[in-house]
Each structure stands twice: as C-alpha cells, then as structure tokens.
Symmetry: C2
Subunit: 84 residues, 2 copies
Amino acid sequence: MPLYLDIHEQAPEGLTLEALERAHRVDLDHQAKHGVTFKQYWVDLAARKVFCLLEAPSAEAAAAVHREGHGLLANRIYEVVEGH
Amino acid sequence: MPLYLDIHEQAPEGLTLEALERAHRVDLDHQAKHGVTFKQYWVDLAARKVFCLLEAPSAEAAAAVHREGHGLLANRIYEVVEGH
C-alpha cells in the first residue's frame, strides 16, 4: 500500500491539540471505507502546520478521508518511501 | 527534547534511495555531538522532497548536523508535537 505524507499549510487559527485530536478521530472514522490507514501525525501549532503520515490506495483516497471527515484538506500530498 | 520535522524542498536531481541512505548515515555520524537523534525520514524522489523527523535541543542543532554531514540543508524546519 502506498505511503503518503500530507501537509496542511494553514491550520485554523487558534487550533489546539485537543481540537486536532478530535478532528483526527473523525478522520479515523472515515478511513476504512477508503482503504486508508492513518499512521502518525505531527503539528506545529505556532506555525499552523499539520503533517499526516498515512497509507492509502491513492492520494485521492487520502484526500477523500479529510474531505468527508472535517473538511480540512491538505495543501500538498507526497507519495513517500520511508528511509532506514 | 524538542521534536522537529524538516523539509528539503529540492533534493538533488537524480537522487536515489541508496544515495539518500548514504547521506543519512553521514548525518547519523554527526548527530551525537549536537545532541540530535534522527528518528525517521521519508522521501518522494519524483517530487524531490525529503522529510526528516528528529529530536534536537534546537532547530539550529538540527541544521548543524545536516550542514556538517552532507551540506544539504532543509528549507523549512518545524518544532512539532506528535499526535495520538
């Protein structure tokens, strides 16, 4: 399954870790029907950046989960390989 | 220890996974003296993007490892919190 890293360049102003966790849980509720598995995510609240690492059959499937979940789409998504 | 995610926006043209692994090993050789611990990295070779996740005492320490290692500095570095 391809691995993707997406970048949300401008998270909502005033975002908190708690609100992000809630939004993430909504994503998790929608991931299975798109064959998506969220693996990790990171946030820089001050810079309003969020990064999600996920497995998905396609970039479109990854975007669909965000769209149907909280509606906050990533600005960029990259198909990545994990180094070791 | 703060956690950082850095982004290399324009990896060298023709970069291969093998060359990236070698560059990463050079980073690992330099990390201890700066108190840095590389945790994971990901690459999109087609888009020439590299993402590094690392613990460091500061963003400057993280940059110093890249500078003294292979000299390829990240364009952006964010202090992040890992979601769960």
